[in-house]
């Protein structure tokens, strides 16, 4: 996994473990929880974009599937929450595979277009057929594990960031494996990858499904933490937000997804005073970061650090 990643992971664990002790009240932790949920979506998208070079404009669709399927299964069918979360991820993966198989057969960025359509269709479906329609529904049970129910903010904070850490390690492992190298190879040259005998369509489908699993897990965690959901949390704007996190943090490094998610989640809290400005500031940040830090924050910082060290190890 590399020394850089291990150190970063230790720092992350320390920061997460320590945060509840240095803050008073639940506000900071709540923001922390939403950062974690968004980070999961962003990590999945990062793997998809950074390694396979595909873009999804429909992560909100999988995020929504995760939230709705898991909530409905646990309320209407009385399934244990942990089980309904797993079922939700399975549904999201199936949807992703169904979408990706035809879309990825085609050359170019058709996946981007197809996912945009998919995400919006899911939103229409949730509005029309979701329980409660546009106004959503509540009374979603908290997650219980081994007889312990995650109802407090602190317990949710720890569990969600545990999921983030696990998700990070999982995707870092993939990226540093043969599979990850194949994905990066596809990004580098599709022609050569095919000539090496790589099944690039299968790989792209798998990595897209992986990103859907991350997003649906995040959606399920969101639903069982907030206990109330409505379709407006799962619209095109969220898909774009997810994209923004990844672009800001840097698509070539999964840490970028985490950093971007934390920034994008905290930002509106800081901007709360200027309510009229929030869209404007979002737009400005995204535009400027695309124009001036194309690679994203994390890869840029790593490069800077490497240069300070004398350019010994530019890669994480």
């Amino acid at each position: 996994m590399g020394r850089g990643n291990s150190i970063a992971l230790v720092l992350l664990v320390l920061a997460v473990a320590g945060l509840p002790f240095v803050t008073t009240g639940s506000y900071t932790l709540t923001v922390g929880i939403f950062s974690g949920i968004n980070a999961l979506v962003a990590i999945g998208l990062c793997v998809l974009m950074g390694s396979a070079g595909q873009v999804s404009l429909g992560q909100a669709g999988f995020y929504g599937i995760g939230a709705y399927v898991s909530s409905v299964l646990s309320i209407k069918f009385g399934l244990p929450v942990a089980l309904s979360m797993i079922a939700a991820m399975a549904v999201a993966s199936a949807a992703a595979a169904l979408l990706a198989v035809p879309a990825l057969r085609l050359k170019g960025h058709y996946l981007a277009v197809a996912t945009l359509g998919f995400g919006e269709i899911i939103n229409v479906i949730l509005n029309e057929w979701g329980p409660g329609g546009p106004s959503g529904f509540g009374d979603i049970p908290h997650l219980s594990l081994f007889g312990y129910t995650l109802s407090s903010t602190t317990s949710n904070f720890y569990f969600i960031w545990l999921c983030v850490a696990a998700g990070l390690v999982f995707s870092l492992n993939i990226l540093n494996s043969m599979t990850g190298r194949s994905l990066r190879a596809i990004h580098g040259s599709e022609t050569a990858s095919i000539a090496m005998g790589l099944d690039i369509v299968a790989l792209k489908i798998k990595v897209f499904v992986l990103s859907a699993i991350y997003a649906s897990l995040a959606g399920a965690l969101y639903a069982h933490y907030v206990t109330f959901i409505s379709p407006s949390s799962f619209n095109l704007f969220y898909s774009v937000l997810a994209l923004m996190m990844v672009v800001l943090g840097g698509i070539t490094n999964v840490w970028g997804g985490v950093v971007g998610a934390v920034i994008i989640t905290i930002l509106p809290e800081l901007l709360r005073k200027f309510e009229e400005f929030d869209v404007l500031v979002y737009g400005l940040i995204l535009t400027l970061s695309l124009l001036f830090l194309r690679k994203g924050l994390v890869p840029l910082l790593i490069e800077k650090a490497a240069r300070l060290k004398g350019g010994t190890d530019a890669r994480a």
């Binding site: 974009m49 070079g53 873009v55 035809p102 879309a103 085609l106 050359k107 170019g108 960025h109 058709y110 981007a112 277009v113 197809a114 945009l116 359509g117 998919f118 919006e120 269709i121 229409v124 479906i125 509005n127 029309e128 095109l236 704007f237 774009v240 994209l243 923004m244 672009v247 009229e276 400005f277 929030d278 869209v279 404007l280 500031v281 979002y282 737009g283 400005l284 995204l286 535009t287 695309l290 124009l291 194309r294």
Partner: protein
């Protein structure tokens, strides 16, 4: 029965006209750059809101307001190209498309800052009794929307076929490198394509606002629908986008009328997915052409 059908048909044609204009806007930029400009819908919003500003707040006469609005939209297109597209100058289409998304959010932010979240409207172009066709009531503005769209289509057609600039733009669409070699100023073509498609979008916005109102965040939905229209007709095909736009508009209003209004927004998207999966070159595009494209 027939009256109701006719009523739906006309309301479909009205929204379809705007989708067609947005779709053509996509094509103009796509042809010269291969970029999908996700800010296309914002140009329509700019059309409606600026027109309101010039005619209702500044109280300028109708024609002057319309001209100023179109020019202003063109200027916004110019700014967008000069400050984001040109400096980036990247071969990474993904990056370029994301920049257009970023700019669209920025524009939305600016529009909200200036106009707030309320919907705006102004008087129809002509006062007078609605027309009655076989029992269906047709607002005069509906005819204006359709008529103006038709004029735009004809003018664009003449521009691309009869003027040097238009021909240069078509040359870029076929092969940018070759166009450069024969001395076409590609950078200017790209700039003009942004100005032109901004203007086309704004015209749509000016015409539709008296009927459907306009607010700062209508852009994304319009962009999605217009994009579906462009995909349906085959990306890059001017005529395809027009037919696609009207087809989507009509199907939408029929769905809303006969099935369920909530399903309306899904129609265009379902059509788009079906086209992508079964006929990726679009209904009117050629497969051989689409293979040459990067997107």
């Amino acid at each position: 029965m027939f009256t109701v059908f006719l009523q739906f048909l006309f309301s479909g044609l009205t929204v379809g006209a705007v989708y067609a204009l947005v779709g053509m806007g996509f094509n103009i930029i796509y042809n010269s750059t291969s970029i999908i400009n996700m800010a296309q819908g914002e140009f329509v919003v700019i059309g409606g809101l600026f027109m309101w500003f010039f005619s209702e707040t500044v109280k300028l006469p109708f024609f002057l307001s319309a001209i100023l609005t179109v020019l202003a939209a063109g200027f916004v297109g110019l700014l967008m190209e000069r400050f984001t597209i040109k400096p980036l100058k990247s071969n990474d289409l993904l990056l370029m498309i994301m920049v257009t998304i970023a700019v669209s959010i920025l524009m939305r932010g600016l529009l909200m800052f200036k106009f707030g979240k309320d919907p705006y409207s102004y008087a129809p172009f002509t006062e007078g009794e609605p027309l009655n066709i076989a029992g269906a009531v047709i607002q005069q503005q509906t005819l204006w929307v359709i008529g103006i769209t038709a004029c735009c289509i004809v003018l664009l057609f003449l521009f691309f076929n009869r003027t040097m600039m238009g021909k240069a733009m078509r040359a870029c669409a076929v092969d940018t490198t070759a166009a450069k070699l024969v001395g076409i100023n590609v950078s200017r073509v790209v700039m003009i394509s942004f100005i032109l498609s901004a203007m086309v979008g704004a015209i749509g916005g000016i015409a539709i606002t008296p009927i459907s109102l306009m607010e700062y965040d209508k852009g994304p939905m319009l962009a999605v629908k217009g994009f579906c229209a462009a995909i349906m007709g085959g990306l890059g095909r001017g005529r395809g986008a027009v037919i696609g736009g009207f087809a989507i508009g009509i199907l939408e209003s029929m769905t809303a009328g006969y099935i369920h209004s909530g399903m309306k927004d899904a129609v265009a998207l379902v059509i788009m997915l079906a086209i992508l999966f079964f006929r990726p070159a679009g209904l009117f595009g050629s497969v051989a052409m689409s293979k040459l494209r990067k997107f």
